[in-house]
């Protein structure tokens, strides 16, 4: 039975993709988290992964024009994925996950 890690791409593919998408994706990832942090969680915990932004105090108006989609994979552990532009950033932030979970309960309970 094959196993599949949807995050994985062959090294060759990554290098070729990076030619097209690398600079833009890295920029977008930073902006995404910055915008999210500014809007939702100014005290968000440190992001993990290679595309974590170096500064958190951003201006939300500089966010990418497209949508920012947040996927809380596990609210208990704070495992969060953020999609913006053509970038994907993975965070571990229990506080932010808890806030989103509370917000979703509030919205669904209206």
């Amino acid at each position: 039975m094959p196993s599949h890690d949807p995050q994985r791409e062959p090294a060759g593919r990554i290098s070729r993709r990076s030619v097209l998408q690398g600079a833009a994706a890295a920029g977008a990832a930073g902006l995404a988290v910055t915008a999210l942090g500014a809007a939702v969680s100014p005290a968000a915990a440190a992001a993990t992964g290679p595309s974590a932004p170096s500064a958190r105090s951003g201006d939300a108006t500089s966010a990418p024009a497209g949508p920012i989609v947040v996927h809380v994979r596990n609210a208990r552990t704070g495992d969060i994925e953020v999609y913006a532009g053509t970038a994907q950033t993975r965070l571990r932030d229990k506080d932010l996950a808890a806030r989103i979970a509370r917000a979703s309960r509030f919205e669904s309970g209206r």
């Binding site: 060759g12 993709r17 949508p67 999609y83």
Partner: protein, 455 residues
């Protein structure tokens, strides 16, 4: 059937569903290869008022492996954008479309072509116009449409031509019978029928006749896709979507974000459709050819080989014995996953190496045939499938016959194929396709019009 609706998830997403890949040395320009990837399967030509189109949110790619590693050294990327002239009318066109830039055509599609290699990327063309769908004599008059379609074949310089838009489906297959428990109409008198009343042999019916597809075709110099000493290339297509998709009900459209992830793949016809089991088809679609080692068992022990003797009792005794022996079908592995090594077929090879990868392998040093056989290599024509694939090649019969055992003697000369193995067919030929292919780029025939093909 080549790869139309071949996996559960991609069957729900026809805009990203690859249907066929063709790769051949261009018969009218033998210093070039033509690579064709078709999408949006089984289009009823009358399917308006929102006629078929490519997905603006889909990344379409045609890949070339030129060193045998199962990964792309060259990728041609196609991104589309749709422009609506007047959003306040429900009409696709407000009068006859008499030219590719006609103001009467309300919903136009354009695209950019980018080539990506290990050393960088280059935009080959941008803002390239697609042709309109072929609607009927009032909207797309026959006096104009061939010229409009021809105007959508763009020369990009450097000997490269591209086309993207609707064409007639060229792949012929009797879907109606084959997916009725492996029935082949010419031989259905021999079918087991599961205790149901017997059937009488009948002529095949081309289920894809009078249907259209959306075709992406690119013609490039052979020298642009090969490296010195390696005339054989591996070709496949992919479609990718951004990872996150949210329906924005305020805007009435989907919003997309995140990296592109592959949702569709196609190299050799029928591999995912017939050989890969149901539970792994969409996984297969998400992976590169370089990962196909994990699926090799489905090629070397294909379920269909075991099924044929059951469906047609007494017709395939030698195949039944071969299946029972448990011997690996290394012939199929060579045809589909590595290419055929030198020495098996006199004067022929399209081996790319030892990496097991489903790619359409084309030895570009073999010139176009003066008298092509629709059975390709099985018909003694090394310029046809499985050496690449031409528009008219009968890939259904070729692969059915190979699975039925006709190619096993390549690796075991003592094996005698069943007499029926070399005759297996769904009863169709290129004559089963109403629209004639063109003799020049983009080769597929003009699309059928909705007026003339309403159902």
């Amino acid at each position: 059937m080549s790869s139309h609706r071949e996996a559960p998830e991609i069957a729900k997403d026809p805009v990203a569903d690859s249907t066929d890949v063709y790769a051949f040395v261009s018969p009218d320009r033998p210093d070039t290869v033509t690579l064709i990837a078709n999408y949006v399967p089984l289009q009823l030509p009358s399917g308006g008022p929102n006629f078929y189109e490519f997905g603006d949110d889909v990344l379409y790619e045609i890949h070339v492996d030129n060193n045998g590693d199962g990964q792309a050294e060259i990728s041609y990327q196609f991104r589309f954008s749709t422009q609506v002239g007047d959003p306040d009318t429900f009409l696709y066109n407000t009068g006859p479309i008499e030219s590719i830039g006609s103001a009467n055509w309300n919903r136009k599609q354009f695209y950019d072509v980018t080539v990506v290699t290990g050393s960088g990327s280059s935009v080959l063309g941008s803002g390239l116009a697609c042709p309109p769908c072929n609607i009927g004599p009032l909207s797309t008059p026959g006096s104009f449409y061939p010229g409009i379609a021809a105007a959508a074949a763009h020369s990009l310089g450097g000997g490269i031509s591209v086309f993207a838009g609707q064409r007639a489906e060229a792949f012929y297959v009797d879907l109606g019978s084959i997916f009725d428990l492996g029935d082949l109409r010419p031989f259905e008198n021999l079918h087991a029928t599961f205790g149901l009343p017997g059937l009488s042999a009948a002529a095949g019916v081309n289920a894809t006749n009078h249907l259209n597809v959306h075709s992406i075709a690119i013609q490039v110099p052979i020298s642009a896709v090969t490296i010195s000493g390696h005339p054989t290339i591996g070709v496949w297509t992919t479609a990718s979507r951004q990872k996150a998709r949210v329906y924005d009900s305020d805007a009435g459209e989907y919003a997309n974000a995140g990296p592109f992830v592959q949702v569709s793949r196609l190299g050799n016809p029928l591999v995912n459709e017939v050989l890969i089991p149901l539970g792994q088809k969409d996984l297969w679609n998400s992976l590169p050819p370089a990962d196909d080692k994990r699926f090799a068992g489905y090629v070397t022990a294909p379920g269909l080989a075991g099924l044929l003797p059951v469906l047609y009792p007494g017709v395939f005794p030698n195949l039944a014995a071969l299946v029972k022996s448990g011997k690996a079908r290394s012939d199929l592995e060579a045809i589909l996953l590595t290419g055929i090594p030198a020495g098996l077929i006199k004067g022929f090879t399209n081996l790319t190496g030892t990496v097991l990868a489903d790619m359409l392998r084309l030895n570009t040093s073999i010139p176009p045939a003066s008298k092509p056989s629709i059975y390709g290599l099985l018909g003694g024509d090394p310029a046809g499938f499985p050496n690449g694939r031409r528009v008219a090649d009968d890939v259904v019969a070729i692969e059915l016959r190979a699975i039925a055992g006709v190619t096993y003697p390549l690796i075991d000369s003592s094996y005698k194929p069943d007499a029926a193995a070399g005759e297996v067919t769904d009863g169709l030929t290129p004559a089963s396709v109403a629209a004639s292919p063109l003799g020049q780029f983009p080769y597929l025939g003009l699309p059928y019009s909705g007026y003339d093909n309403p159902s």
